[in-house]
């Protein structure tokens, strides 16, 4: 294990005291330290939102990109240099709202990246509007009469979209969360770690207490993580009990293993810029 201080950023997190995202940051640092990933080989990519500020708070390469576009940025970086460990972090608005399309496509590609979503069921940075995972009838500034849409179910969506590692954690249990993230990074293929990361400022319903009363660990129940049907069933559980842990895990070839260029082994970033058969290439046009 590497020392945790190796990942310490000069910049202090600007999250509200008590924000769930602190637990996620600590868990991520714990996970990469356990895996002994050198900060220079780690790329943390995010979109926009409170949670997307995370790359600034960890000492590693980072890309704090546009709202909803973290996954395509991470995809490009990973395809250019598959030797990097690529972790994507963001919130529910970023990943399940404005960036939902990319989320689904990244999963069906089974690209080897880890996606950590700090899901607080609210738009925090924009001061409290309904999010795609807000529970129905949730009252916010943008839904004073209560929301009238069904929430997105990220676990179910991931399961049917081809993700090969689907987990949910709770930032109130950082040790368990660190294990989920560590396994997600080690997993070959697309790993989703959805995290209940309470917003202490704008979401007064889905609080630490709310989750503490409800969450239970799938692992404690003799659950089989290779059963997709069971995973789908579990993904629909909410009240009175909410499962956390690994819902589903399977092995499939990754995008990098199948891509005709990447499978030759040389990362594009290390490949020579010149063409080997220039004359042959030019003669194609004669």
């Amino acid at each position: 294990m590497l020392e945790l201080s190796k990942y310490k950023s000069e910049t202090r997190p600007d999250w509200c005291p008590g924000c769930g995202d602190f637990g996620v940051l600590n868990a991520l640092v714990q996970a990469v330290a356990n895996l002994e990933i050198d900060p220079k080989d780690l790329l943390v990519v995010s979109g926009i939102g409170c949670s997307s500020n995370l790359p600034g708070f960890i000492h590693a390469y980072g890309f704090h990109s546009l709202h909803g576009r973290a996954i395509p940025i991470a995809t490009g970086a990973r395809l250019a240099n598959p030797e990097l460990t690529v972790v994507v972090t963001g919130g529910d608005g970023d990943g399940y709202g404005i960036g939902l399309g990319h989320f689904i496509h990244a999963m069906r590609r089974n690209l080897d990246i880890t996606y950590i979503v700090m899901n607080n069921q609210i738009y925090g940075l924009t001061t409290g509007q309904a999010s795609p995972t807000s529970q129905k009838s949730f009252v916010t500034k943008s839904s004073p009469m209560g929301t009238i849409e069904e929430p997105v179910n990220p676990i179910a969506l991931a399961l049917v979209s081809g993700a090969t590692y689907v987990a949910r954690g709770f930032s109130g249990d950082p040790k368990h969360l660190a294990e989920l993230i560590e396994k997600g990074i080690k997993h070959k293929g697309f790993a989703l770690v959805d995290v209940f990361s309470p917003c202490v400022t704008w979401n007064k319903v889905n609080t630490y207490d709310y989750f503490r009363q409800r969450v239970y660990k799938l692992n404690d129940t003799g659950y089989d993580t290779s059963d997709l049907g069971m995973a789908l069933e579990k993904s629909r559980e909410w009240d009175p009990k909410i499962p956390i842990g690994i819902f589903y895990e399977t092995t499939k070839p990754t995008y990098e293993e199948l891509d005709p260029v990447l499978r030759t082994g040389t990362p594009p970033v290390k490949a020579s810029l010149s063409q080997s058969d220039v004359d042959g290439l030019f003669n194609e046009f004669i």
């Binding site: 590693a60 890309f63 990109s65 490009g76 970086a77 399309g101």
Partner: protein, 564 residues
């Protein structure tokens, strides 16, 4: 196949496929012009018209030049001949009947007609055979044989029944086969020669040819090619790949570029080099997907919020598309900003012979930080040129975060808790000035617009991009024979606009005519904004069709006769 026969025989040629946004049916035509000299446009008239249906005969017969012919199927095509000019000949042939000898479906009637055309022009049939072999090389041997037989029968039929055309172009005594390619292919070839390792796109006419070529050459050229879910993903993948250190390119048309707009600013803000090919088609909105226009210049110059450096190049010819692409990669890395390569349907999709393309490619990857940087590493160090040495993930000692938020020299965002604090108010200004300084440095390095034709002229035509093709042809032909002296100023390195070099050229011209394929004279507007020079005479075309030489000539006559 006909164009390839010309280019392999050592002729120059130019071909344009006109089609519709439909998979089957509709009025489709392909036009080829050959010459001993470089052919620069699709031209006005045709010498041999092959009409496979009545509609084609009626639409195109009036454009058959005196001395020219129309070949058509006498059993299928109803053609009275009154639309032909006096000295043109109608050559009815049993195209379907001949082709059915070799296949029950008359699919090879065009091959039969091409065989006849070869005879009429006195072209070498053996060269055509090699072209057929290569064209159908991946199919069964019987397909090649049947096509050669069909073409031979057409050739023989024409030989027995028709007299040859009076062809002025002489085949080169020592024929050297020429390269024949589309603008899209020239861009792709330039990209791989420049070391492009990542190409992403979403299918969109007329940029799809880029994706097809890149995908077909991915393993051979070592390019990771990604067809993404939408253009938002496309450009962000490109930026991610470039951030990781490879030369990356994305391609689209105006609609897809509209989706890329937010990320264009991201590339500007994070100082990520990326090449974006924007192959314009007639807009607005879905517009005319298979028709040409130069209507996106305003968008390319103004897209995305805030001020940030960008570079816009508009290649003038197929050959230039190759060089401009290589230049685009160098400029992107030297100035660490997005570079837009403005193509259009005409340039992207027409085929043209190119004499020779240099295989010696200069690659300039710009300024890089080394691993022994002073700590902390200042990715966005304020420098005199505005260019800060780059570093990529994986490199020791240069860890930083690229951010779409405003940031300080080290990359730390100053948009949230630091915004408004006097020290960071100053930091913001420093970073803006630093980024925009790159544009000022780039501006001084932009070459002057290309002056084509005689130094002294009665009228000077201003144009950009593919329109240079037809304009240069008019300069070469009409400009030398009619007594009216014509030259042209072609804008290729459009942005940053080098007013210092452009203005004297414009001001010294006797009369200036702006020729563009758009409604609002977007280049003329830019010129006026940058130099104060207003071009009042304009030939603007926006019906989806490319500009024809006769239209330019007509406008020249009109402008030069006025106040004369």
């Amino acid at each position: 196949m006909f164009a390839r026969t010309c280019s392999r025989s050592g002729f120059h040629c130019y071909g344009l496929n006109s089609y519709q946004s439909a998979i089957r049916g509709g009025h489709v035509w392909f036009q080829v012009r050959g010459s001993e000299q470089k052919v620069k446009s699709h031209g006005d008239n045709v010498d041999i018209l092959i009409a496979l249906n009545s509609e084609s005969a009626d639409i195109h017969a009036p454009f058959v030049s005196p001395g020219g012919v129309i070949i058509y199927d006498k059993d299928r095509v109803k053609f009275s001949g009154n639309l032909l000019s006096q000295k043109a000949r109608a050559l009815p042939m049993p195209l379907g009947q001949i082709s059915r000898k070799f296949d029950k479906n008359p699919i090879m009637q065009n091959t039969v007609a091409l065989g006849a055309a070869l005879y009429l022009l006195g072209l070498d049939f053996k060269v055509f055979e090699t072209v057929i072999g290569d064209t159908f090389g991946k199919k069964k041997e019987s397909v090649i044989t049947a096509n050669i037989q069909a073409a031979t029968s057409g050739y023989e039929y024409a030989k027995s029944n028709f007299s040859q055309l009076e062809v002025t172009a002489k085949p080169p005594s020592n024929p050297r086969p020429k390269m024949l390619m589309t603008g899209n292919q020239a861009i792709c070839l330039g990209a791989v020669m420049a070391g492009c390792k990542f190409y992403a796109a979403y299918p969109m006419t007329p940029a799809s040819g880029l994706l097809h070529w890149m995908a077909a050459h991915a393993t051979r050229c070592g390019v990771v090619v990604k067809q993404a879910e939408d253009e938002l993903a496309v450009i962000n993948m490109g930026i991610g790949a470039a951030h990781a250190g490879v030369r990356a390119m994305v391609g689209t048309s105006g609609g897809g570029f509209s989706l890329m707009v937010e990320a264009l600013g991201l590339a500007g803000m994070t100082e990520t080099p990326i090449v974006i090919v924007e192959s314009q088609r007639a807009g607005p909105s879905t517009g005319l997907p298979t028709k040409t226009e130069q209507g996106d210049l305003n968008m390319m110059l103004g897209a995305s919020q805030g001020d940030f450096p960008r570079i816009v190049l508009s290649p003038l010819t197929v050959e230039d598309a190759y060089y401009a692409t290589i230049e685009a990669f160098n400029l992107a890395e030297r100035f660490q900003c997005p570079v837009i390569l403005a193509s259009d349907l005409l340039l992207s999709e027409h085929i043209e012979t190119v004499d020779s393309l240099s295989k010696d490619v200069l690659i300039d990857r710009g300024e890089w930080a080394n691993s022994t940087q002073q700590q902390p590493f200042l990715r966005y160090r304020v420098t005199e040129t505005g260019i800060s040495p780059r570093a990529i993930p994986g490199n020791p000692g240069t860890i930083f975060v690229a951010a779409s938020d405003e940031h300080d020299e080290s990359g730390v965002v100053i948009s949230d808790v630091l915004a408004g604090i006097p020290k960071y108010v100053a930091e913001r200004k420093k970073q803006m000035d630093k980024r925009m300084r790159k544009l000022e440095v780039a501006r001084t390095q932009m070459p002057p617009p290309k002056v084509y034709g005689p130094q002294e002229a009665d009228i000077t035509i201003v144009c950009w991009g593919s329109t240079f093709g037809v304009v240069s042809e008019v300069v070469d032909t009409f400009g030398k024979t009619d007594g009216i002296r014509v030259n042209a100023i072609a804008f290729r390195n459009i942005w940053p606009f080098n007013a210092e070099k452009a203005e004297p050229l414009l001001k010294s011209a006797k009369k200036v005519l702006d020729v563009e394929c758009n409604y609002s004279a977007q280049l003329a507007r830019l010129i006026r904004a940058e130099t104060g020079f207003e071009i009042k005479d304009r030939l603007l075309k926006y019906d989806g069709e490319p500009i024809y030489p006769y239209e330019v000539i007509g406008k020249i006559r009109e402008v030069t006769s006025r106040n004369a």
